[in-house]
């Protein structure tokens, strides 16, 4: 019993939070204004609680397992969710259904926790669904907007499709090996055609969820249609969780098929970086812009994953931590501009610096970090990913990745240029940021600067493995 409590601590805390919110929703009369700070504090507590009593072990006959590394990954996700509650406070307060938003988001988070802790394909599938379906409802949160419903519909259809593919892959794999346990599958893999086919199906499903090219087509539409808070959640939290479990599945379950998937991974990484970058070049809507740029970022993550070793895991986890800060900061600024000035076009950012210095610098920091320019943390994250990918001596691969960094710099600079340099006769007025938003942006900015320069964090992640 004691073991159950410590190992499933994060999930239990989340479940308690979810029930609390449910009671709040049923008992009426709590105002958004009053409720939001409480939720923010609870999420902060959830994040801090993640650092204590972290054990290692498995439960339910290997269905669920956890380790310090997995606990750290969960902390990253909790942090991101806490940031969502801060950065999008302005939008959340106006929402009629704020408790539901958090209910759905925390349920999805619970699904992700279970997903990265899963030790069995069945468990993995269930938790994946748990983490996806609430997000589709969240995507539809702007009830009066058609685009929002459209995005939600696309999300439902595409995730149902990928789930179908995943289930097909799982059943083929079960047929080929006779087991669904992560621990038992590797010994039974021998590269038979059926196994490879099953792997390809599983791989495609992951590619769908991670928006790897050529499975990325749903991304931009869903991101554009959803409220920015949901876009941020999708592109940061969902992506990070998927990347974590993707590594586990590739490195543990399909390690014997390494020769098959290494080349596939390299090829898809190149395609993802190139396509994501090229499409990002010409986007006018800031959300579509970030959608494509996040596709390109996933390409870089794949570069790191192609390391197949300890370095691969730690660099990806490290990069995801940095990505949480950088992308959340960018989305936070975009949300402030969208919410208070009602503008989502890149052109609307022209002359933003004139009246909104704080927002402009945070956005610049975030964009430089996403582009991988020092002294921001993104520089270290990107470089370590490339170093991890280069360990297998594929120089052309690193060269392509490095070239992609130039392309990405071009479009990130486009926004920086709009903010700082382009003249605009009617720049956006000073935006009245709330306390929560300000705090969230400061946390992100501090993270962007400190996570890179403080080498201890990367060293710490490496010791977890």
């Amino acid at each position: 019993m004691n073991e159950f409590l410590t190992l499933m601590k994060s999930e239990l805390v989340l479940t308690v939070l979810i029930f609390l919110l449910l009671f709040v929703k049923i008992g009426r009369g709590v105002h958004n204004e009053a409720l939001l700070p409480i939720i923010q504090v609870l999420l902060l507590v959830n994040f801090i609680a993640g650092f204590f009593f972290n054990g290692q072990g498995s439960l339910f006959g290997g269905m669920f397992h956890t380790s310090p590394l997995i606990a750290f990954e969960k902390n990253i996700l909790s942090l991101a969710v806490y940031l969502v509650s801060l950065l999008f406070a302005g939008w959340l307060k106006k929402s009629q259904h704020m408790p539901e938003f958090f209910l759905l988001m925390l349920t999805a988070l619970l699904g992700m926790f279970l997903m990265i802790s899963s030790g069995n394909l069945l468990m993995f599938y269930l938790s994946l669904e748990l983490s996806t379906i609430p997000v589709a409802a969240m995507a539809n949160f702007d009830l009066h907007k058609k685009r929002s419903s459209e995005g939600a519909m696309k999300m439902v259809l595409s995730s149902a499709f990928s789930s179908g593919i995943l289930l097909f892959g799982i059943s083929l794999l079960y047929g080929a090996t006779g087991t669904l346990s992560f621990a038992e599958i590797p010994a039974l893999l021998n590269g038979a055609p059926l196994q490879v086919l099953a792997f390809v199906f599983l791989f495609s499903a992951f590619a769908f969820k991670l928006s790897v090219v050529p499975f990325h087509l749903w991304t931009a539409d869903v991101y554009e249609g959803s409220p920015i808070a949901v876009t941020a959640f999708l592109s940061v939290v969902s992506k990070a969780a998927m990347a974590f479990i993707f590594i586990t599945v590739l490195y543990q379950v399909f390690k014997p098929l390494q020769a098959v998937w290494y080349n596939l991974l390299v090829l898809l990484a190149v395609a993802t970086m190139v396509v994501g970058n090229l499409f990002a070049l010409r986007q006018q809507n800031i959300k579509r812009f970030f959608a494509f740029s996040s596709i390109a970022q996933v390409g870089f993550v794949l570069v790191g994953i192609s390391n197949i070793g300890v370095l691969g895991v730690s660099t990806v986890v490290y990069f995801m931590l940095i990505y949480v800060f950088s992308a959340m900061a960018a989305f936070g600024v975009a949300a402030a501009v969208s919410h208070y000035a009602n503008k989502e076009n890149v052109d609307a950012y022209k002359g933003l610096y004139k009246n909104n210095r704080f927002l402009s610098w945070i956005m610049a920091l975030a964009l430089f970090s996403l582009a991988g320019i020092p002294p921001t943390a993104g520089f270290f994250g990107k470089l370590f990913l490339l170093a991890a990918g280069g360990e297998r001596a594929a120089y052309w691969f690193i060269a392509v990745a490095a070239l992609n960094m130039i392309v990405s710099l071009y479009y990130y600079l486009r926004v920086v240029r709009a903010i700082f340099m382009d003249a605009n006769e009617t720049p956006i007025d000073a935006i009245p940021l709330g306390q929560g938003e300000r705090l969230g942006l400061v946390i992100c900015g501090a993270g962007i600067v400190l996570v890179g320069l403080a080498g201890g964090i990367f060293n710490f992640i490496q010791t977890l493995h």
Partner: protein, 491 residues
Amino acid sequence: MNLFYLILLPLLTAVSVLLCRGGQIKWAAFAGAVLQLALAVGLVVAYGQQRAAGNTAQMLFQQQYMLFSGVNISLHVGVDGISVAMVLLTSLVSLAGVLVSWKMEKMTKEFYFLLTLLALGAYGFFISLNLFVLFFFLEISVIPKYLLIGIWGTGWKEYSANKLALMLMGGSALILVGMLGLYFTAGHNFDILSIANTAIPANTQHLIFPFLFVGFGVFTAMFPLHTWVPDGHSSAPTAGSMFLAGISMKLGGYGCLRVAVYLLPEGAKQYANIIILLSAIAILYGAFATMMQKDLKYMNAYSSVSHVGFSLLGIGMLTQTAITGALLQMVSHGLMTALFFAVIGMLYDRTHTRLVGEMGGLLKVLPFISTLLFIVGFCSLGLPGLSGFVAEMTVFVGSWQNDDVFHRVATIAATASIVVTAVYILRAVAQTAMGPVSNEHFLLLKDAAWYERLAAILLVAAIVCIGIGPGWLADLLRPAAEIITNRIAGK
């Protein structure tokens, strides 16, 4: 001497600039720059004392702290004669840069913050002995340049800023690939001194060398990757141009030498002829292109391409004298070009034009500034007694030591450019400063203010100092150059 002060001091300056308000900002930046200069001079003195006391270690004042143990990256700093000279150059140019921007009114806080950040990147770059840290500091300087040009620039500033940022990023991408190549061949190691002790197969050297040399070559405006220079320099604000040409282009030259040639001597031998060919073209092409310019800033930008060609030519010659000359040229060009841009800035602030054709007779109304123009012009065309002569002469002598036809022809071609330089410099200076005053508004102009005088005197003093007594600088550079040439000779 603790080298970390060189990073800490600019950092403190940057922070104090952020904390100050209004008129205090420039004083904070000024005080920081003065302290940096004092520190740099102190470093030169301390370095000389160590050497005089018989310390023969390759790098002095070394310190090492592990940063990322998992990927074996440590913050390793140390200096040899080259680094010391470059640090001194950086501190001189940055102080002059702060001074000439004294009347800057648009967003002063951001302006001085970015300038200080640029200097910080340069100091860190010159003292790093770890490739990763070196690359980090190199990249730090890209964004301040972009913003300085884009926000405070003139003309096609957005275009120039973008071009500069993307081309430099392209160079960085090449360096990155080469750097990772070195890292993996040298057994997961970024440390310059330990990589130097690792035997790297000649084939691998031939593969990696172009990435590193061309990558750093972009930063130092190697032909044909120099195209960001004219646009970037001409659009940048005065201090920005001074930093760009005086310091940033030296980062590239230093990297070519310290990283590419020093760590990969076999690669350097393999590609030396191509380097010589490209730099000879750059020298001549730059000189002829300058002749055609009407805008003073474009003139200096193209003549920079030509002058930097001398450094690369010296590096490509691979002899000890030529490399010493290349390093002298880097220092000399840094000072000279910074002064030139400062003078152009002063002229532009008063006459509101940079076109040679619209100026005339300025010696009568602006005697101080026009005299500076003469000095910098003469330095540029290699008049004895100024630093340009010393540097170019050393490069030529060193180049002549290679006695085959190819090297001789390249040397002669490069020498011939001096004539072209004389033509454009004398023509521009004469038209600007002499003759009748071309515009009656010019008669009302005021000569240089105290801050401009101070900046100019600082730079002129350094130029004359090197020109008259080059021994101390050459003695500083020569032993370090010798270590590099010894490696090339396989000793």
